[in-house]
């Protein structure tokens, strides 16, 4: 086991809140997001997710909790053999829902993120920004209670970054708590929101 990346970190993410998670590269932003997303177990300490102690969540309960959390991975994690539409619909499909019950929602969301014309192409022909938007759409399709986005504007130019930010703000207005991990100061300056700064394994919060 290596050195502790995060220690004495204590915070909560209220429902419907909006915050940035920032700090230098290697400060542990991604690790903290993975802890929140339950894809990493803490070596010590307590994490409570939707009122439930992380260490008491069974493997069977895990998928049900994950469905309430939307994640945008830094490397997108789109499936290359599925079209943009199918990638975005994946969270609904794995729940066993009929395609006819969500087709309109998915198409609507894709148009909303500007991928209306790229719905039926596969990720290898999408640009970095388009992949980014597809990954965001996949995380949003279920209107999760909390959205965790790891450097969601890392691959796009500033105008598109602003548009994506507006997307997150809109989601937040609809009731989703949003955590955006970024080291893009320009992006953070555009919104008056809570800032969580990670540095040297410690977390400082500026409300």
């Amino acid at each position: 086991m290596g050195a502790e990346v995060l220690r004495d970190v204590s915070f909560d993410i209220p429902a419907r809140s909006f915050q940035f998670l920032s700090g230098p590269s290697g400060a542990g932003k991604t690790s903290l997001l993975r802890l929140l997303f339950l894809s990493l177990k803490p070596t010590r300490g307590l994490i409570t997710v939707f009122g439930k102690d992380r260490s008491r969540i069974t493997r069977r309960e895990l998928p049900l909790i994950r469905r309430r959390i939307g994640v945008v991975f830094q490397d997108f994690r789109l499936l290359d053999h599925l079209t943009t539409y199918e990638n975005v619909a994946l969270p609904l499909r794995v729940r066993g829902r009929e395609e006819s019950s969500y087709r309109n929602d998915v198409e609507e969301l894709l148009k909303w993120v500007g991928l209306g014309e790229r719905m039926h192409v596969v990720p290898p022909v999408l640009s970095g920004g388009e992949k980014q938007r597809a990954a965001i759409a996949r995380a949003l399709i279920e209107q999760p209670e909390i959205l965790l986005a790891d450097e969601p504007t890392g691959n796009v130019d500033p105008p598109l970054a602003r548009r994506l930010l507006r997307l997150f703000i809109e989601m937040n207005r609809l009731g989703t708590a949003v955590v955006i991990a970024t080291h893009d100061l320009g992006l953070m300056e555009q919104v008056d929101a809570r800032r969580m700064i990670l540095s040297g394994g410690r977390l400082d919060i500026y409300d």
Binding site: L40, F73, R77, R93, N104, E107, V113, R138, R166
Partner: protein, 331 residues
């Protein structure tokens, strides 16, 4: 504002500037587990080849087993009385007398004297044609047909013939049958050993080829896991895909093997009268593998399909628990 069927209301924020009419013809959703790639095609080929070889081995073993039991039955159906020529022996009278004794014995259904012409034919390969059998001291034979269900007491029959007909002896083919049965059983045992090895090799290569094909799917399992798919769902998707792949390969191999049997069987029936076919028929019967042979082929196909599915299932389960355990190792 745009209303969606889920009740959410999205505000157009300028991203969706231009919309083109979407094609109304919608294709079916692509399978979650991607269709054939190079590794998948290699898996189908490996399964097809191994199934083909396994089915061939099974067919040959069942052929040899059937043939061995036929040999055994045919040879034990007959015995031979042999009368050696001696000075002053009336051969024809001795043959008649021995044949009468044999016919009257319980458990014997008939006795046929091999006549001069047939004896001459029998000796022709060694002594050439135009042979005058009376000039040579050639033993004569009586072929005795035995009731297989109630065989005679060979010791008593031998005693009766030897005591009443001078220079006669009875050969019940026991030594020959024993040797043949031993040989046939050895052949069948070797065949079964070969079949077991073949099936073991098939199982191993199918398992490893499936694992190889699964190796490229790790990222799919991971993404499905992260978008909230249950382990059962992921395992079912892969199982279904690999069952189809396995059955496709196994069916191709099984059909190939059945075709080989049908072609050889057809060939042997077409060439019944030729010396080559006679030789082959004498050894292997009529090349038919029978219902049990075809049943075995079908069983192998189904088992290999299920084996492929089970291997993919176990690989998914192992991968998921690996993701779980990595959670505590990383970071």
């Amino acid at each position: 504002m745009t209303d969606t069927t889920s009740g959410a209301t999205f505000t157009e924020d300028g991203i969706a500037e231009s919309e083109v009419a979407l094609p109304r013809v919608r294709r079916r959703m692509a399978p979650i587990v991607p269709a054939q790639n190079v590794v998948g095609r290699a898996l189908v080929s490996v399964i097809a080849i191994m199934t083909f070889l396994s089915c061939l081995t099974l067919g040959v073993v069942s052929l040899v087993r059937d043939t061995a039991s036929v040999w055994e039955a045919q040879i034990s159906r007959e015995a031979t009385i042999q009368i050696r020529p001696e000075e002053g022996l009336d051969m024809e009278a001795a043959l008649e007398s021995a044949s009468l004794i044999a016919r009257g014995f319980p458990g014997i259904t008939g006795a046929r004297i091999v006549d001069r012409a047939a004896t001459t034919r029998l000796l022709e390969p060694w002594l050439g044609s135009g042979l005058n059998i009376d000039e040579l001291p050639v033993p004569r034979l009586i072929i005795v047909t035995i009731n297989e269900d109630y065989p005679p007491n060979f010791a008593k029959l031998r005693e009766a013939i030897v005591s009443q007909v001078p220079h006669a002896s009875l050969d019940d083919h026991r030594t020959w049958v024993d040797r043949l049965v031993t040989m046939a059983r050895t052949t069948v045992a070797i065949g079964i050993a070969a079949l077991v090895l073949m099936l073991a090799a098939t199982v191993l290569s199918v398992v490893f080829a499936t694992r190889g094909a699964m190796a490229g799917n790790g990222h799919i399992i991971e993404v499905l896991h992260f978008v909230g798919a249950e382990g059962r769902f992921i395992a079912r998707e892969f199982r279904r895909h690999f069952l189809a792949t396995g059955m496709k390969g196994a069916a191709a191999g099984g059909i190939g093997a059945v075709l080989v049997f049908l072609i050889v069987s057809f060939w042997s029936s077409r060439n019944l009268a030729t010396p080559e076919a006679d030789q082959a028929t004498a050894l292997f019967g009529n090349f038919a593998i029978g219902l049990s042979g075809y049943g075995g082929v079908a069983l192998i196909v189904v088992v290999i399909g299920m084996l492929t599915a089970a291997t993919s299932h176990l690989t998914v389960v192992a991968y998921l628990s690996d993701i779980e355990s990595r959670q505590s190792d990383a970071g």
